[in-house]
């Protein structure tokens, strides 16, 4: 891997990690994220729209969340979505110190339901904004190809 690629991946991982768990990744997570890119071609895409989406998301955690709000429904096979799912899987495979904390929201079911509704409303707002930004771009640049079947 070229040094410039490695630096880009580390920056990408930092942004995505802040987006997913609210803190910077440790050295171990960074290493695994870069290693996955070295060992698999699943995370790159030649599609122009994918590159734009990824570049936008890499600007910062809020940008990543906005781009992901669009990708989760309309670009499910995009390289952004694949990279985020890869990082999610790495975080959940690592110890709690490096990855996700498995603790549940301790506020009780009624409060939790309110929080879920609130998050749903926020997601809907982000989705609306993301559609305004990305739908025209997608129409111009084209979409992501569906994933090939991954067999075991």
């Amino acid at each position: 891997m070229m040094p410039a690629d490695a630096a880009r991946l580390r920056r990408e991982c930092e942004v995505f990690c802040r987006y997913l768990i609210g803190r910077a990744p440790g050295a171990y997570i960074l290493e695994k994220y870069c290693e996955a890119h070295e060992r698999s071609a699943e995370y790159s895409s030649p599609a122009a729209f994918d590159r734009v989406l990824l570049s936008f998301a890499s600007r910062g955690p809020s940008f990543a969340r906005l781009a992901d709000s669009y990708a989760c429904l309309f670009a499910r096979y995009s390289s952004l979505r694949r990279k985020l799912i890869l990082l999610f899987s790495i975080l959940e495979s690592a110890s709690a110190q490096h990855g996700f904390s498995d603790a549940v929201d301790g506020s009780g079911q009624p409060v939790l339901f309110v929080k879920i509704v609130f998050r749903g409303v926020l997601f809907a707002l982000r989705l609306a904004l993301a559609c305004v930004l990305f739908l025209p771009l997608r129409l111009v640049l084209g979409g992501s190809p569906p994933a090939a079947r991954r067999g075991h």
Binding site: K32, L86, F88, S89, S93, S95, D102, R149
Partner: protein, 536 residues
């Protein structure tokens, strides 16, 4: 001392081998035999494993990150974990083409059942009406296998579908979610039984609730999905180890059997195998021969043998497999509750849906998710991953999945044959499958009943998450060389003895003339024991 050559080391092969070894036969077992890697940190539970391993991501996701489940149009939530990759490794030279069928082949020591989920569901008398023997024979064999491997179960409402037999062990402790589902069922069973003809109960599983020989009882490490490090959970390689203790048993791994050779009287003279790593073929002679390599592999060997001797390309109809539907659900009462990973991980509960025709029984296995990877679920939720992470972590204890199984029947249009091509050293296997007419109606009815039953227990099936798996996914293959009372071409007797080749026995699912909606593995083992008892 008579000699037997057995092909394969899966559940049928090892139990057949153990039975004939106990009768004094000299046994040679031929197998590709990819073996299981040693268990890592055997004393650690699931959480400690993440803390103590130097590279937990490599263990859980694999060296090439093959354990990451990226979005896929087939919506498969889970694959084989990297620690069990060896189970689906193929040797060179083995090729196939499949239409309407997504087959799995295993060349592992212990076969595909090294990655099974342990379901031990005996067929009942109504389900074996096409089999040319009485249920009493099979019942004795079920008891024998249960004593060997350790099967837990309870005499509850599901016993109306799975007959009780001897040597059942008491069930394991239920996890909190499963216990809640059972208590809700007890409150509402009158309605569920009457209106939906739906029954719930404890599943029968090949794991230990008390010590059995050198194997220790389940210690709730929560590592079932990744491979039980203590052998409390049964896999056929455990029985293979028992066979290895017999002085007149020879295990020959590293060999892929291609065909057998027979004389003018149709007696098999030898089995021919090629080293999996390449090299000259070797021939193995014996008095009797047993194909137990799994229905598709055994069928391939059978077809190849006829083709090499006669030039005839036979097509064997009647291939069967269970259609499976995966129905993820959320138990509303469990949302926000903490999840305890220190519990048994595979299905502990089952559900059965009764049918007017007892052979139309629909079977469901209910798995409450505790240590399974969450990223495949998060990736399928219709929201961004940060929101999805919040949802799955707070709903982790509430998540479950029902694996619904439907029965299958033999139809001549579903066949296995060899490709018509020249120049290949070993023929390509052709598999052709089409569902029966009316399957869509059966699927819809089963989905609707399961959905309503879950709703009645306080669980919802999230829209868009249901997945009808492709045929072949359940790996319960059967029916290509069926047992038959009549001596038809390419059939077997009630003792699985070939009607074409008198000293050849086919001791796996290929001989089953009907496939109930149940995991077949326990019946494969029992049938192998029955054949050894009757014919040897």
């Amino acid at each position: 001392m008579d000699s037997v050559v057995i092909v394969g080391s899966g559940p049928s092969a090892v139990h057949f081998a153990l039975s004939v070894l106990q009768k004094g036969y000299r046994v040679t077992m031929l197998d590709v035999g990819y073996s299981k890697p040693p268990a890592v940190n055997p004393g650690d539970n699931f959480v400690a494993l993440k803390e103590n391993l130097a590279d937990p991501v490599r263990y859980f996701l694999g060296e090439r990150f093959e354990g990451v489940v990226l979005p896929n149009p087939e919506k498969e939530f889970y694959g084989i974990p990297p620690s069990k990759d060896y189970v689906l490794r193929h040797p060179g030279g083995f090729t196939f083409d499949a239409r309407g069928f997504a087959p799995f082949f295993s060349f592992a020591q212990g076969g595909i059942a090294e990655a099974w989920t342990g379901g031990c569901y005996p067929f009942n008398a109504a389900e074996i009406t096409d089999f040319p023997f009485d249920y009493a024979e099979l019942e004795r064999a079920y008891a024998e296998v249960a004593a060997r491997i350790g099967v837990i179960g309870a005499p509850d409402d599901l016993a109306r579908f799975f007959p009780l037999h001897e040597n059942l062990l008491e069930p394991l402790e239920l996890d909190v979610h499963s216990a809640l589902l059972m208590s809700e069922y007890e409150k509402r069973k009158a309605w569920l039984n009457r209106r939906l003809r739906c029954y719930f109960g404890r599943t029968r599983i090949a794991t230990l609730s008390r010590d059995l020989g050198a194997r220790k009882k389940c210690s709730y490490l929560g590592r079932c999905l990744w491979g039980c490090p203590t052998d409390s959970f049964y896999t056929p390689s455990i029985t293979l180890r028992e066979c290895l203790a017999f002085p007149h048993f020879t295990y020959q791994p590293g060999l892929r059997v291609t065909h057998f050779e027979f004389d003018g009287a149709q007696r098999v003279i030898s089995i021919v195998a090629e080293p999996a790593a390449g090299g000259a073929p070797q021939a193995f002679s014996a008095d009797r021969f047993a194909l137990a390599a799994g229905a598709l592999n055994s069928t391939k060997i059978y077809l190849e043998s006829i083709f090499r001797s006669t030039g005839e390309r036979v097509a064997l109809g009647g291939l069967m497999d269970n259609r499976q539907i995966l129905m993820p659900f959320v138990n509303l009462r469990m949302i926000g509750k903490p999840c305890n990973p220190e519990s048994y991980q595979y299905h502990q509960l089952g559900m059965g849906i009764e049918s007017d025709d007892p052979r139309g029984y629909v079977h469901g296995q209910i798995t409450t998710l505790k240590t399974a990877m969450l990223h495949p679920i998060a990736a399928n939720l219709p929201c961004d991953l940060r929101t999805a992470a919040f949802l799955v972590h707070n709903m982790h204890a509430a998540l479950g999945i029902v694996n619904v199984n439907l029965h299958d029947t033999r139809r001549q249009g579903n066949f296995v044959s060899l490709a018509e091509e020249t120049g290949a050293k070993d023929s390509r296997l052709i598999i052709n499958y089409a569902p029966e007419n009316g399957e869509v109606h059966r699927l819809r009815a089963a989905i609707s009943t399961v959905r309503r039953a879950l709703l009645h227990l306080g669980c919802i099936v999230p829209p868009g998450m249901l997945h009808v798996r492709p045929m072949g996914a359940s790996v319960h293959y059967a029916g290509t060389l069926p047992m038959s009372r009549a001596k038809g071409r390419h059939t077997t007797s009630e003792t699985c003895q070939s009607h074409e080749f008198p000293n050849l026995f086919i001791v796996d699912g290929a001989t089953f003339p009907f496939l109930p909606a149940k995991n077949i593995t326990f019946s494969l083992m029992a049938n192998a024991v029955r054949v050894a008892s009757r014919a040897f």
